[in-house]
């Protein structure tokens, strides 16, 4: 390649953002291959996805600012920029019966709905969750300890000898601060579809359901995690439950 042509190629390189050059296979000289600008069609094809990325990211930022979408989600590339990820949000649901406020644990069938609410809280979503909870059948179950149930069964079946050693271990654990033997845990659970309450479960008649989405922040002064409700919704179910 003559010097003049190389200079022309170099000038083309600068002005046309030339950046493709290869070494000739059979010679030491650089042979420049001018990278002319892409055709309009190719340029549109090259830019289609970056433009889509920007459009989605702008939408994600808008949702994060105006609707409390977690910055970690929604294809806006806000991951690792804030504590306010989905794990920093949680849902608390309580039912009211007479003067008693009962925390309600959501069943597995509502986990995805709960996760969606944590990612993008919404009044309609929270209302739908509260309605589903209100429409569900809740039973109160009492869990005794497994060893006592085992012993009872052995007694009923008249099997001998009893395994007193395991019972002693439980008693020892209880004396060290664990749940005392014989004491029972009182829990509430929502029955899944097509599931019926089993005795001795007690079906709870709720007067109101309250669902709330909470978010915690890191307080460097504490240091502590401090939670505040993002959205709260109370759904009365009967006249006394407002």
């Amino acid at each position: 390649m003559a010097l003049g042509e190389r200079l022309v190629a170099a000038a083309t390189a600068v002005t046309c953002h030339f950046d493709w050059c290869v070494r000739d296979a059979d010679g030491p000289l650089l042979r420049y291959r001018a990278r002319v600008a892409l055709s309009d069609r190719d340029r549109r094809l090259a830019w289609a996805v970056p433009v889509l990325m920007v459009a989605v990211a702008v939408g994600q930022m808008g949702l994060a600012r105006m609707a409390d979408l977690s910055p970690w989600k929604g294809a806006g590339f806000g991951m690792f920029s804030t504590v306010d990820g989905v794990d920093a949000r949680f849902v608390r649901v309580t039912g009211t019966r007479e003067d008693e406020v009962i925390p309600l644990r959501l069943p597995p069938s509502l986990e995805q709905r709960e996760s969606q609410l944590r990612t993008l809280p919404s009044a309609s979503g929270l209302g739908a969750l509260a309605d589903r909870v209100a429409a569900g059948t809740w039973e109160r179950i009492s869990l005794g300890d497994a060893m006592r149930r085992y012993q009872k069964q052995r007694d009923e079946e008249s099997l001998e000898p009893r395994d007193t050693r395991a019972l002693e271990e439980l008693r020892r654990a209880a004396s060290q601060g664990s749940r005392p033997v014989g004491a029972s845990l009182l829990l509430t659970r929502m029955l899944e579809d097509a599931e019926t309450a089993m005795p001795p479960g007690e079906v709870l008649v709720l007067e109101a359901v309250e669902a709330a989405i909470w978010r915690f922040r890191f307080d460097p002064a504490g240091p502590a995690l401090r939670a505040e409700p993002l959205q709260v919704l109370r759904r009365p179910l009967r006249p006394g439950g407002s």
């Binding site: 493709w20 070494r23 190719d42 090259a46 989605v56 590339f77 925390p103 644990r105 995805q112």
Partner: protein
């Protein structure tokens, strides 16, 4: 005749310079990397998994399939549909994988396919990092160090870094995890919990906060301004450094894989060494994926002794 030979001596404009000077078909390598990503790093619902596995295996076995734009369009639709179906949990890199498939489909419709794909890849990298920087700059709890304090004190992925550089012992991590569990429990009534913070945490927090921001900004600028910057080491070197450093801590190997695949695609013809570096980075990430926790623990043990 003389005129003709002079014309031939002008800088040639290749309409399809896909096989590079080394004889390697750039586009084919890019397709193989993308298919491997679909095979290894998209794990959404069963229909996404099933269809992408079938597509990826077909593409890897039959070269004629993997350079058809229709195949990549289908891959993009399936990946993005899976992301939308799981929008509440889909990570950003899952969307980036879908975008990459779509960029591939677009490039295969172009006349100058390699350059079109390279341009898309370059801007996608610049945008991914630019948006990440924008989020960090607009986030108060990132800039004041709260974010990395939180991560070092509570995120198990940062446990080894916290132990090495922040003097955060396993006991402290366990106590903080228990505190957070109490706060977020379904039957909880607490509105705040105190955290245990060791004295040596602040320097590690400051370093991680500003190092991350600086390298992400440098990468975003390096790729956005690539045609005007002759220094390949800037953008390529920093991207590879980022991948090597960040994914050694946070095991988001799918993100690292798609970044290295795009890094390979945007390399210029005279950047063969960088292409090899990206390929090695891609392979190392897959190896790292298989034994992340073992390697991580071994490194920590070695550094502590």
């Amino acid at each position: 005749m003389a005129r003709r030979s002079r014309k031939a001596a002008k800088p040639s404009v290749s309409s399809s310079p896909e096989p590079s000077a080394s004889g390697v078909d750039t586009l084919d390598v890019c397709a193989i990397l993308a298919l491997l990503i679909l095979l290894l790093h998209v794990d959404e619902t069963w229909w996404v998994r099933l269809s992408l596995t079938a597509l990826a295996i077909s593409g890897l076995l039959f070269p004629s399939i993997r350079l058809r734009w229709e195949v990549w369009l289908v891959a993009a639709v399936v990946v993005l549909a899976g992301d939308l179906a799981n929008w509440e949990s889909a990570d950003n890199h899952k969307f980036l994988i879908g975008y990459w498939c779509l960029a591939f489909a677009c490039a295969l419709r172009a006349e100058r396919r390699v350059e079109t794909l390279a341009t898309a890849a370059r801007w996608m990298i610049a945008l991914a990092f630019g948006l990440a920087v924008l989020w960090k700059l607009s986030s108060g709890d990132y800039l004041d160090g709260s974010f990395f304090s939180y991560e070092l004190l509570l995120d198990p992925r940062f446990a080894n870094v916290a132990r090495l550089f922040g003097a955060v012992t396993p006991d402290v991590l366990a106590a903080n995890a228990a505190a957070r569990a109490s706060l977020t429990a379904w039957d909880g009534t607490l509105t705040s919990v105190a955290l245990e913070v060791p004295g040596g945490l602040r320097p590690a927090v400051l370093f991680l906060t500003w190092w991350t921001l600086a390298i992400e900004l440098a990468i975003a600028l390096g790729f956005a301004l690539a045609p005007r910057l002759r220094a390949a080491w800037w953008r390529n070197g920093l991207l590879l450094l980022f991948v090597a450093a960040v994914y050694a801590i946070a095991p988001v190997i799918g993100f690292g894989s798609v970044l290295t695949a795009m890094g390979y695609a945007q390399c210029r013809e005279n950047e063969r060494r960088w292409r090899i570096a990206y390929l090695l980075g891609f392979i190392l990430l897959q190896a790292y994926r298989a034994s992340w926790s073992v390697l991580n623990d071994a490194v920590v043990r070695a550094l502590q002794t």
